[in-house]
Amino acid sequence: MVDFSDKRPNPDDILEDLSSNLENGKGRLEIFFGYAAGVGKTYAMLDDAQEQMKSGVDVLVGYIEQHTRPETIQLLSGLPVLPPKIIEYRNIQLKEFDLDAALKRKPKLILVDELAHTNAPGVRNKKRYQDVEELLNAGIDVFTTVNVQHLESLNDIVENITRISVQETIPDYIFNNADKIKLIDIEPEELLNRFESGKIYRQERTEKALENFFTKENLRLLREIAMRKVANRISYANQNEPHLSPKMANIKLLVCISASPSSTKCIRWTERTAEAFHAPWTAVYVETMESDYFTDLEKQSIRDNLALAERLGAEIVTLNGYDIATVIAEYARLSGITNIVIGKSRNKKTIGNLFKSSLEDQLIEMLASIEIHIIPGNMPRHSTSQYKRRRMRIGKNLYLSWQDAFKTVGLLMIATLFSWGINTLNIGNQNIIMVYILSVQVISRITMGYVYGIAASVLSVLTFNFFFTVPYFTFHSIQKGYPITFFIMLLVALITSALTVRIKTHVRLAVEKEHRTEILYEINKKLLASNDLDGTVMLVNEYMVKVFGRSSILYTQDPVNSLTENFLQSPSDPDASFLLSKDERAVAHWVFMNKKSAGAGSDTLMGAGAFYMPIVSSSKVLGVIGLSCANGKLNQNNRLFLRVIASQVEIALERHVLSNEQRRMTIESEKEKMRSNLLRAISHDLRTPLTGILGASSTILENGINLDDETNKALILNIKEESQWLIRMVENLLSVTRINQEPMNVTKTPEAAEEILAEACSHIHKWFPIRKISVKVPDDLLMVPMEGTLIEQVIINLLENAIKHSPEDSIIKVEAKKLGNNAVFEVSDNGSGISDEEFPNLFEEYVHQKKRSADSSRGMGIGLSICKSIIKAHNGKIDAENKKNGGAVFRFTLPLEESEDNG
């Protein structure tokens, strides 16, 4: 028997897969894929759309290219077409796909031609594929077309074949993640025929296109690449489909990135290889001391390369170190890299290369078991050398300063004077050499860069020659062996100076790294310690400003709905309050909705003044973090660091979400408990009067004639009183439901205290006409913010309580007055007062009822506890005490001024 159990797909997995697909409600992407323009992609797409239309799908033509052939245009008939958006750019009217209109219209299926198209400036997204992604996120199915040369990873291969560089590319993940790929294929001969008859481009463009691109050979090659790409996809899909094998993790590629433009070739090569093996890959950039001398152009190129790698799906790592080979080797060993890809395009004939073995040799030496792939750079020679030259010049310029020059000369002079002293004392020449070497070392230590160390080495040799070798005060040296001395001295000076500089750089880099790690550690610690969301937000903003020196903003909910402004101005930034503007908020909103970074320096909504990054936790966006770019865009390194911080913030926010959830649940369960207690109390309390009513009414009905008038009247009065009691009870219950809907929150409006008192008293008067109530209010009108009907209920309850506990002929006093910032309401009676055992849980929830005998109580416990909830919801206080000369006082206060936190 063979055991298949472990190979069978887990039904739960499949279900989860299905449900996750349904849950995020993403649209399906179908790509019509061809190897060149004119193979009939658009035609096929429209044909398909017509089919869909016939089967009742809501189809919309989002955008079709203008140079479409007439046969294709015919296929458009009957399909609803979205009018293009006209954009004015440098006095030219450009027609673009109208994304917002499409999102608003929200069809089931939309057709968007030319996936690789680059949008005109001023449109929200830089590339059309980003538009398509938004459509998919909105749950709209998309049909689109793309040619093989537009695939990012194949870009350079196609360029090699056709000698035409294609600027418009789409990232491979779009292609790989598409739900359906349809290869549209015709024979190259057929295609060429179509060409010659001018079906593809308009006549005047055909000539040129034919010459460059559409040769039979090119087309055949392109066709092969396209077919292979699709075949690859199928085989990949086959492997992944049955949920059987875990991802092949035994191969892991690493590509080394430099500022050289040829790096892009390495990146693409690695991507293709990784794709072929279905292996993960990492792009690494080593920051050395040289990085400081890079020109803006080179920095840009590094940024571009890293961005490219990221787009193609690589994991990005930036390392620091002096020696590139050691750093890479270390990293490769630690992270289990099996293959390393490096580009080779450096100039051979430099002094450095004479002494240093090349990177690949070093790597091979250090990593015996790792395969190394070398990709030759095919850069035109002159441009490479231009790169090199400029770096040297600018590198030196950067660190020339008068201060350092002065230090150098000063130290050399001191050394010379000291040596002069040694010389006059007739101590050997060798000591003088040592003095000079010492001075060179000191100079390299206290100056910046190589320049002064080298200058000092040369100068010290010259001064030594001039002052201390026979003949004195000339640059001649007669004694044999001096040239060797000079040479060795120069070498020693050079090497020590180089070493010192290197150590210094190391120290600086180490300190920088240390600093970042420290900050991360600190953030982590503080985030863990912070308990409330506001504190966390403040903390994050503080650190962002501290680390990046930029103004920062953090949204913890959808920015459009966010009312709080969690924004911190950095002292080194110009005024950054623009972060709060509506436009910026809209960008942040987009980020929130699309779970993608956007804003300045990214590909989406580039016009924004800040860079926004979503904080995503298990596919839910918890917040958006924004950094002002008023002082220039963020570099790759900053972005990476921002991402690391974002992941810390994510953990913190997640924690808050969870704890909020838990708190909500606790409150909920408490409320539930209260409700069931209440229910129990009520049903008991209701039974008593209902029994009375039922008894009295049935007595009258059945024996009405036999009873004397007085008894009859007494019974009816009884019914009336019991019903009135029931009504008051129900009013109380209604009040409870009104505060329970929103936990502990009421809508307050200013009400005149006397009006509320008067209304409450008139109610009581109706029910207990014989009782006397004296009401006192201040002479000045007392306006108190409250929910009128609820406070009226409180007063009614207190009055009823007083009536119940005091003799019939006594007077009940009600008073309202102002005391500082509070309004005080008092209800006092001359009754029995409150007994000691009642005191502790006078206002308690309904539980204490059980302690008393079942018949003695008539829901007063409910009345007082309701008073307490109402007053609590008003941020007020309620208490009771016994008067000295008998009777009880119930007193509650309401704040006159609305406090800041309303809840």
Binding site: I727, E731, L734, R738, P750, E751, A752, E754, E755, I756, L757, A758, E759, C761, S762, K766, V775, K776, V777, D779, L781, M783, G788, T789, E792, V814, A816
Partner: protein, 235 residues
């Protein structure tokens, strides 16, 4: 033909409708009943009752819509029946042209008083503004419109122009609840929000008219709705 007043009861709870009609019949009114909003409208058109008692919660349509429809062509007094806690609903109904409201649960005397007031007003209404009424008096309070004089027990009371305007407004609709918005619009004009000012003025008036402002006799407050000048003093 007898000249009994006809009351239309629009109420879907049979128990309540029965008890109301019993009271009304006992007090010499003629009663017609319906439980449906649509029927209420057609019955109003065909019977032209003297007063409509309208419950706002009806099974077939919103009571407020019934009110609106009837008000399009008729000024028959309408008293709205609504529960406590639905103050906004009452204000809406009053602003839409209801003459008065009564809060469930209510007693018989209260109901009869409202109906009396309603019918009396409809009879007075046509010539209300023509100026033939020169005086209104309730208990000790007397308002002389010609002399622009308000007095209590023959003692003149000094009022500011705004206060006088408010008193006149309330007295002209004596017995009826006037909503805050209505008073503000009549006294200060449209597009103003003077609710605080109104309250301060009311407090001042009360201090001038009433013995104890916390136990007003003449002008009573309906919390969350508005003010009413009583027609007859409570004993």
């Amino acid at each position: 033909m007898d000249n009994k007043s006809v009351i239309l009861i629009v109420e879907d709870e049979e128990g309540i409708a029965n008890f109301i009609s019993a009271i009304l019949k006992a007090n010499d009114y003629k009663v017609i009943k319906t439980a449906k909003g649509k029927e209420a409208i057609s019955m109003t058109a065909s019977y032209s009752p003297d007063l409509i008692l309208l419950d706002l919660g009806l099974p077939d349509m919103d009571g407020v819509d019934v009110l609106k429809t009837i008000r399009e062509w008729s000024t028959i007094p309408i008293v709205v029946v609504s529960a406590r806690g639905y103050e906004r609903e009452k204000v809406e109904a009053l602003d839409l042209g209801a003459d008065d409201y009564i809060t469930k649960p209510f007693g018989t005397s209260e109901l009869l008083a409202r109906i009396r007031t309603g019918i009396r007003h409809s009879k007075k209404y046509p010539n209300e503004n023509s100026g033939d009424i020169s005086k209104t008096s309730v208990g000790e309070l007397e308002i002389d419109y010609n002399k622009r004089l308000v007095s209590i027990s023959q003692k003149a009371i000094h009022l500011t122009p705004i206060e006088y305007k408010i008193i006149v407004l309330l007295s002209k609709h004596i017995g009826k609840v006037l909503t805050h918005d209505f008073i503000i619009k009549e006294v200060w004009g449209p597009y103003t929000n003077e609710i605080q000012t109104l309250r301060v003025n009311m407090a001042n008036i009360r201090r001038k008219l009433e013995e104890n402002p916390a136990e007003p006799k003449y002008i009573v407050t309906q919390v969350g709705v508005g003010y009413r000048m009583v027609e007859e003093l409570e004993q």
